[in-house]
C-alpha cells in the first residue's frame, strides 16, 4: 500500500467572536470606510429582512427567506465581486443583490409574487434567484465557459445552501469547472439547516469544503460570521478565477437565525437554545465590536446608520406599493421572443377575460 494523493482543508478567520484579530488583517480592512460600507450592507439586509417578514404577515408579500445571521456572506460577496463578473444567486442573497444594483423595491416585487422583480432595472446579465435547488451551479459553470470561449477575464460567483450540496447538479458543476478550468467561485452558505434537516443529516463529510476534492480543485472553510475573512477569501478566489482560471469552493460557516422562510416554523425541529447559543457569533455585533474597539465606530454612528437604513427600507416599501399592476397577457409576451401564431388566440382570450373580469 502506498499513498498516492493527500489533501488538506484550511479554515480562515481574521476576527473572532470577541472582535479580536486572529490572523493578518488584509489591506482593504485597514480602510475604515470600506469596513463601514460592509457594515452598512449588513445592517440594511437585517432591517430589510425584518420589514419583509412583517409584510408577509399582512399578505403584502408571499413567502420570504430571511438572511438573519448570514448577512456577512451576502455583504462580503457583493463587496468582493467586480461589476463585470456575473453573480448567480440562490434565493437568500438580498445583501449581495443590493450591491449589484438591484433595487429594494424590486426585491419586494419579486417576493410579492411578480416576475418583474427579476427584470433588474439596472440591467446586466446576473441571474435571477434560483428556486430549484442546485441547478444554478451549472448555469454558473456555463457562464464561465462562455467567458473562456471568448477569452474574457471575468469570473462567476454562485451560491447555494448546505442542503444544496446534496444535489447532483452541484457536483456535476464542480466537476466540469475543475476539468475545464473555469473561472467560477462556488460558495456554500452553510447555515446548518436545510429547512428542518440539520447539516449532520445532509452529508457525512466532515466539512462541506472538502467536496471540492472530488472535482480536483481546492476548497476551504471560512468563518461566516467574520465579514472581513469572508470578503477577503471570496475576493482572492475571484481573482484566482479571473487570472488563472482556477475554480474554488468556499464553505462559509454561519447559522440561520430565522425560520427557513416565513412559511416555516423552526420551533418544530430546532433544538431549544441552539439559536441563542449561536447568537454570540452573529456577524453584525462582531464587526461592531471590532470597529468600536479600534475607535472607528460608535453607538451614535450606529444609531444614525440604522436610522438611515430604516428610512431606505421604508421608502422601498412605498415604492413597491406604488408599482402599477401588471397586465395578465405578459404571461404570453415573454414566453417566446416572438409569440407563435398558435398561441395568439389564447392571448386574445386572456385579454378579453381580463377586461370582463375588471369591468
Amino acid at each position: 500500500m502506498k499513498i498516492v494523493a493527500h489533501f488538506e482543508i484550511p479554515y480562515y478567520q481574521i476576527v473572532n467572536e470577541e472582535g479580536k484579530i486572529t490572523s493578518d488583517v488584509p489591506e482593504f480592512a485597514k480602510d475604515p470606510d470600506h469596513l463601514i460600507r460592509l457594515y452598512r450592507v449588513m445592517i440594511l439586509n437585517r432591517l430589510f429582512d425584518l420589514k419583509a417578514i412583517a409584510l408577509t404577515r399582512t399578505g403584502k408579500l408571499g413567502t420570504y427567506p430571511s438572511a438573519r445571521g448570514q448577512e456577512a456572506v451576502f455583504a462580503g460577496m457583493g463587496d468582493a465581486i467586480e461589476k463585470e463578473d456575473i453573480f448567480v444567486p440562490y434565493y437568500r442573497d438580498v445583501g449581495t443583490l443590493i450591491q449589484r444594483g438591484v433595487k429594494l423595491k424590486e426585491i419586494l416585487l419579486y417576493w410579492g409574487g411578480d416576475e418583474r422583480g427579476n427584470a433588474f432595472e439596472c440591467g446586466g446579465k446576473d441571474f435571477p434567484y434560483s428556486v430549484p435547488i442546485g441547478t444554478q451551479m451549472l448555469h454558473a459553470a456555463g457562464i464561465a465557459t462562455a467567458f473562456r470561449i471568448r477569452g474574457e477575464k471575468r469570473a462567476v460567483l454562485v451560491t447555494c445552501g448546505d442542503g444544496g450540496t446534496s444535489q447532483g447538479d452541484f457536483y456535476e458543476a464542480m466537476n466540469v469547472a475543475g476539468v475545464w478550468k473555469l473561472p467560477v467561485v462556488f460558495v456554500i452558505c452553510n447555515n446548518q439547516w436545510a429547512i428542518s434537516v440539520p447539516r449532520s443529516q445532509q452529508t457525512a463529510s466532515q466539512t462541506l469544503a472538502q467536496k471540492a476534492i472530488a472535482a480536483g480543485f481546492s476548497g476551504e472553510q471560512v468563518d461566516g460570521n467574520d465579514v472581513i475573512a469572508v470578503r477577503e477569501r471570496i475576493f482572492l478566489a475571484l481573482k484566482n478565477a479571473r487570472e488563472k482560471n482556477e475554480p474554488t469552493l468556499l464553505e462559509i460557516v454561519s447559522y440561520r437565525h430565522a425560520d427557513h422562510t416565513t412559511a416555516d416554523d423552526a420551533s418544530r425541529y430546532e433544538p431549544k437554545n441552539q439559536r441563542e447559543l449561536e447568537w454570540k457569533n452573529e456577524p453584525i455585533a462582531r464587526l461592531y465590536t471590532y470597529m468600536t474597539n479600534l475607535g472607528m465606530w460608535s453607538k451614535e454612528k450606529d444609531q444614525a446608520l440604522n436610522e438611515e437604513c430604516a428610512a431606505l427600507v421604508e421608502q422601498s416599501v412605498q415604492d413597491y406599493a406604488s408599482i402599477p399592476s401588471v397586465s395578465p397577457e405578459v404571461m404570453f409576451d415573454y414566453l417566446y421572443a416572438v409569440l407563435p401564431e398558435a398561441y395568439k388566440e389564447q392571448r386574445d382570450m386572456l385579454i378579453k377575460r381580463g377586461e370582463s373580469a375588471h369591468g
Partner: protein, 326 residues
C-alpha cells in the same frame, strides 16, 4: 367522528398502512421531524421510528433511485417530493427505471413505489411551486397516475396506490389540501385504481375533470343547474390507466363533453380524453368537445396565478357555448 381535510386524510392513510404493513417506508425531504412542509406526514416519525420514516438529503433523483432499490427487495417506499416542480430531477429514474423494472426483468424484479407530490397553483407559493405536469407521467407506459380530489378519495386512493404492486405517481392538489372537510372512516378500505368517479349525475353535458379543478367544476355545475342545465361531473381520479368507458357512457347519454384541467392545454391529459372520445364516440357527439384548461404559458408567479387557473366563469361560458351548438 371528526371531519378531516384532504391532507389529513393522506396522513391517516399513511399511518393506517404503515401500521398494517411493516414493509411500508416513508421518505422525503423534511417529512420526519418536521412532518412535511404541508404536514402530510406529521406524527409518523413518533409512531413508526426513524428507520421507517426517513428525512433524506436534498436530492430528488436520489429519492427516486433509493425508492427503486428499496422496492426491488420487497419494501414499499412511499416517497414525497416537496413540490411537483422539484420532481423533474427524478424523471430519469422514474422513466428509465421505475416504470420498466418489471418489464425489463420479465417480472423478476418489480417496482411497487408510490411517489407522492403536491401539485397545482393557487396557494401563493414561490416560483416553480405551482406546476401541473401530470401529462408527462400519463405518457409513460408502466406508470399509474392517481389524483384525489376529496378527503375520502385521497384516503381510499392512497391506500390502493400503496397496495398496488406497480409504480404510482400520486398527485395531491395542494389547493384542496385544506379546502373541504369530510368524515373519512379509518377503515382501511381502498378505492379502485381504474375507475372514474361520477360526482354528479346529469343529462345535458358531461364535464370531465380531476384534481383541484373539481372545485370550480362543482361550483359551475351548481350555478348552471339554476339555469336548468344538468351537468354530469366525472372525476377521472386515475389518469393512467384511463377509464374511458365511464366517460364514453356518459357522453353517449349527454351528447356533449367538456374536459377541464389546470395544466397547460397543449398535450395535456385533456387532449387524450378528447382524442378518445372523438375516435370512439363521434356518433354520440351533438357538439364539438371543448377543453377548458390552463394557458400554454409558464404558470405565473403568485400575482397572476388566479388568472391562470381556469375559473368557474370560464367553465360556465364554455358550457353555455356548447349547449347552444346546433
Amino acid at each position: 367522528m371528526a371531519e378531516i381535510t384532504l391532507v389529513e386524510a393522506i396522513n391517516q392513510a399513511l399511518a393506517f398502512e404503515m401500521q398494517a404493513d411493516p414493509n411500508v417506508v416513508v421518505l422525503g425531504e423534511d417529512i420526519a421531524k418536521n412532518g412535511g412542509v404541508f404536514r402530510a406526514t406529521v406524527g409518523l416519525l413518533d409512531k413508526f421510528g426513524p428507520e421507517r420514516v426517513r428525512d433524506t438529503p436534498l436530492a430528488e433523483s436520489m429519492i427516486a433511485g433509493l425508492s427503486i432499490g428499496m422496492a426491488s427487495q420487497g419494501l414499499k417506499p412511499v416517497a414525497e417530493f416537496q413540490f411537483m416542480g422539484f420532481i423533474y430531477p427524478a424523471l430519469d429514474q422514474i422513466i428509465n427505471h421505475a416504470s420498466r423494472m418489471r418489464h425489463r426483468t420479465r417480472g423478476r424484479l418489480s417496482c411497487g413505489v408510490v411517489f407522492r407530490t403536491p401539485f397545482g397553483a393557487g396557494i401563493h407559493a414561490p416560483e416553480h411551486h405551482s406546476e401541473s405536469t401530470e401529462a408527462i407521467f400519463a405518457h409513460i407506459p408502466g406508470l399509474r397516475v392517481v389524483v384525489p380530489s376529496s378527503p375520502a378519495r385521497a384516503y381510499g386512493l392512497l391506500l390502493a396506490s400503496i397496495r398496488n404492486p406497480d409504480p404510482v405517481i400520486f398527485l395531491e392538489p395542494s389547493r384542496l389540501y385544506r379546502w373541504a372537510k369530510q368524515v373519512v372512516p379509518n377503515d382501511g378500505k381502498a378505492l379502485p385504481l381504474d375507475k372514474c368517479f361520477t360526482l354528479q349525475v346529469g343529462m345535458d353535458i358531461t364535464l370531465v375533470t380531476w384534481g383541484a379543478m373539481v372545485k370550480e367544476t362543482l361550483a359551475a355545475a351548481n350555478r348552471l343547474a339554476k339555469d336548468g342545465i344538468s351537468c354530469e361531473i366525472i372525476d377521472v381520479a386515475t389518469i393512467k390507466p384511463l377509464d374511458i368507458e365511464t366517460i364514453l357512457a356518459s357522453v353517449e347519454k349527454t351528447g356533449r363533453c367538456i374536459i377541464i384541467h389546470e395544466a397547460a392545454r397543449t398535450c395535456g391529459v385533456g387532449a387524450e380524453i378528447a382524442a378518445q372520445v372523438a375516435e370512439r364516440g363521434l356518433m354520440f357527439l351533438q357538439a364539438p368537445i371543448q377543453r377548458v384548461t390552463g394557458y400554454d404559458t409558464i404558470v405565473p408567479y403568485a400575482r397572476l396565478e388566479k388568472i391562470y387557473i381556469p375559473s368557474e366563469n370560464q367553465i360556465i361560458e364554455t358550457v353555455n357555448k356548447v349547449m347552444e351548438f346546433a
